[in-house]
Amino acid sequence: MKLSRRLFLGLATSAMALTSGIASFAGEMPAPFDKASDVKIALVRYLSTGDFFQAYLSGVETQAAALGVDLRVFDSRQDAALQADMVDQAIALGVDGIVIQHGLTESMQAAAQRAIDAGIKVVAFDVNVENPAIPQVEQSDRDLARLALEQAIKDNGTSFKAGYVYVPGIAPLDRRDETWVKVKAANPGIEEVAVFGTLDNPIANSVANQARSVLQANPTITVMFAPYDEFAKGVKIAVDEAGLTDQIDIYSADVSTADISAMREPGSAWAATAATNPAVVGEVSVRTLAMLLAGETVEHNVIVPPTLITQKMLLDGDIKNMADLSAKLPQFAHADVSVPAWMPLPKR
C-alpha cells in the first residue's frame, strides 16, 4: 500500500514537471491534457514495413511525446482480422483514443464503431471506416498526382508521348490514377502509349525490367509518369540502362532520402516528385485525435497538403536528405493542419 502510494506520488510529480515544462511554451492545455500522462492513446496499424510507415510511426511518436500522452502501438502486419481484434484489445485496455492506420473498410468499420460505442475517440488515416463520428486523415493523393502532372506539363508542354506505371486495386494508386485520367482528358495532346507496373518485390528491380521492355517497344516516349517512388526508381534504372537519360523525364509521387539522391544525380531523368511528409501525416493524426479528446470540433476530412519537389529545388538548395528537405522547405516539415493555439508541437 505504502509502496503504491509512493509510486503514485512519484508519477504525479514527474507528470506535473512534464506538463508544466510543456505548458511553459505551449500555453495551458485543456482537459484532459492538463494531466496528459493519464491520457492513453493507441495506434492500430495495418501496414508497417517500409520507409513510409516507419516515418509515419515516428511522426505519431514525436507528437504523442510533445503532448506527453501514453502511446501504445498495435501492429497487425497486414492481417485484417487481427487488426480488428487489436481495436478490441485497445478498448479492453481502456484507452482514451485510437488512431487507425490503414486497413480494410470491411473489417475496420464494425471495429471502429465498437470503439465509438465504448466512448473512445477515433481517427482514421487512409482507411475509410464510413463513420461520421470519425475524422478521416488523408494525404491527398489526387493533389499529389496533380502537382506532379502540372510540373510535367510545365516542362514538356501539353502534347507528349507518355509511359504510365500503374497497378490497379491499390487505393492510393487508384486515387492518383483518377487525376491522370482527368489530365489526359483535358489535354488530348498527351498520348499514353504504354501502361505497365508490378508490385513484385524488390519493386524497383521488377519495374526496371518491365520499363526496359517498354522503352524498347516505344522509343518515342518522352515522359514517364510513375506516381509511386518505388516505380520511379525502377523506371530511372531502366532509362539509365537504355541510355535515354537526356530524352526522358520522370514525374513521380512520394519522396525518401534515396529518392533525393537519385534525383540529384548529374543529368538525372527524375525531374520532379510531389510528396507529403509521412512524419507530418503521423503528427496530424495524433493532433486531430487530441482535438477530439479536448472536445473540439474537427472537420470530417483532414487533408495534409503535398509539396512539389523538383530536381532544381534540390540542387539549388543543396538538399541531400530528408532532414535537409524539412529544413529548407518549411511547408514540407510542418503542415498547418489541426493546430489549435494550445497544441504543443514537436521540437525540430
Binding site: 517500409g50 524488390p202 539522391s261 541531400k320
Partner: protein, 342 residues
C-alpha cells in the same frame, strides 16, 4: 513402355516431342514476338532478356544444386535480399570498400548454407522445414540493424546519426557496367556472371565425379551411401552452393539498385524455383540440370519481355508464368516416365 523406348533405334514422335518440344516452343515464342512486337527482335532486346533473368537465373542454379541431392532450399530468396541489405550496410553505414561488401555477402551466404546443411544433416530437420525457418529468420534479421528502414546514401540511422558512406563506383559497376560486344556497352556484368556461373555449375554437375555422386544421392541416397559416398558432406555442399549463389544474386541486385531495399524475396524464390522446375523438361532430362535451368529462366524472361512490350498487365504475366510451369511439369512427369531420377 520403359524398355521399348530404349530398344527402338529411331526416335518416335513422342520422344522427339519430349526431347525437343520445349526448345521448339521457345523458338516459336521468339518468332511470335519478333513478328508481332515492334522492337523485340534486336540485340538490345536479347540482352534485356538475359539481364532481366540474370538474378533469378543465378538463384535458380542454386535451387538446382539442392534439387540434385533431392533437397530443397526455400531460403534463397531471403538470402539474396539479406545480401542486398548486408552489402548496403557494409558500404553505407560501415563505410567499407566494395571488396569488403562482396566478401561479407559471400561469407554470409556460405554460413547460411552451412547452417541449413547442419540443420538438415545433423539435426534431421526435413529440408523444407529447416529452410523455411531460415527464410523467416533472415527476413527478420535483415531488418533489425536499421529498424526496418531501407538503406540508402545519406540515410538517418535509428540513433539519429546521418550516414556518410556511399556506394563506390566499383561496386555499382557490378550492376551497371556493360562490356562492348560488337556494339558498344552492350552486355551487362550480371549477364556475364550468370553465364560463367551456369557454365561452372554445369561442368561441376555433369563432368566431375562430385557432381555425379550428388545425382546418385538424389536418386537413391541409401545406395549412394552403401557405395561409400559421404552423403552428408555432399548435402551440406549443395546448400552452401545454394547460399553462395543466392548471395551473389543479392550483390548484383544491390549494385543495380544502388540502395538496400527492404524486400522479402518471395518473388525471387518463386521465380527461381519455377525456372529450375521448367528446366526438368528441357531435352527430356526429367531431372534438375544447369542447362535446363538457364533455358527455363530465359523462357520466363522472353515471355515477360514480350508480354510487357505488348502492354499486357501484370496479372496476365503471373497467369502465363503459371501456365508455362504446369505445361513443363506435364512434360516432365507424364510424358517422360523413364530414366532420370525416378
Amino acid at each position: 513402355m520403359q524398355t521399348d523406348t530404349h530398344k527402338r533405334p529411331k526416335l518416335g514422335a513422342l520422344d522427339l516431342a519430349i526431347k525437343y518440344g520445349f526448345l521448339a516452343l521457345l523458338v516459336g515464342l521468339v518468332l511470335f514476338f519478333s513478328l508481332f512486337t515492334e522492337g523485340f527482335a534486336s540485340p538490345y532486346s536479347a540482352v534485356f532478356i538475359f539481364q532481366s533473368v540474370s538474378i533469378t537465373g543465378i538463384l535458380a542454379l542454386g535451387v538446382t544444386a539442392t534439387l540434385v541431392v533431392d533437397g530443397f532450399d526455400l531460403s534463397i530468396g531471403s538470402v539474396a535480399t539479406t545480401a542486398l541489405m548486408l552489402s548496403s550496410y557494409v558500404l553505407v553505414v560501415w563505410e567499407m570498400s566494395a571488396f569488403a561488401a562482396v566478401v561479407a555477402c559471400l561469407v554470409m551466404g556460405a554460413v547460411v548454407g552451412l547452417i541449413n546443411g547442419f540443420l538438415i544433416v545433423k539435426m534431421r530437420v526435413p529440408d523444407l522445414l529447416a529452410t523455411l525457418g531460415m527464410m523467416f529468420l533472415l527476413v527478420g534479421l535483415q531488418r533489425i540493424p536499421t529498424q526496418g528502414r531501407s538503406i540508402s546514401t545519406g540515410m538517418t540511422l535509428p540513433d539519429g546519426r546521418v550516414t556518410e558512406g556511399v556506394f563506390p563506383p566499383e561496386f555499382l559497376a557490378l550492376g551497371r557496367h556493360r562490356f562492348d560486344f560488337f556494339i558498344d556497352r552492350l552486355i551487362p556484368v550480371s549477364v556475364v556472371v550468370l553465364l560463367v556461373i551456369a557454365f561452372l555449375v554445369w561442368v561441376f554437375m555433369e563432368k566431375t565425379r562430385h557432381g555425379r555422386l550428388m545425382y546418385a544421392i538424389g536418386s537413391n541416397e541409401r545406395a549412394a551411401e552403401l557405395a561409400g559416398t559421404n552423403v552428408n558432406r555432399y548435402k551440406v555442399l549443395a546448400y552452401v552452393i545454394s547460399g553462395v549463389l543466392a548471395s551473389i544474386g543479392g550483390i548484383l541486385m544491390a549494385a543495380r539498385l544502388g540502395r538496400g531495399d527492404i524486400a522479402s524475396g518471395n518473388n525471387l524464390l518463386l521465380d527461381s524455383v519455377a525456372a529450375a522446375l521448367i528446366g526438368f523438361a528441357v531435352l527430356g532430362a526429367a531431372k534438375p540440370n544447369a542447362f535446363g535451368t538457364i533455358v527455363g529462366a530465359l523462357f520466363i524472361g522472353i515471355l515477360l519481355q514480350g508480354l510487357t512490350m505488348m502492354n499486357a498487365p501484370y496479372y496476365t504475366q503471373d497467369f502465363v508464368k503459371g501456365a508455362v510451369l504446369v505445361v513443363a511439369l506435364v512434360f516432365t512427369f507424364a510424358l517422360s516416365r523413364r530414366g532420370g531420377g525416378h
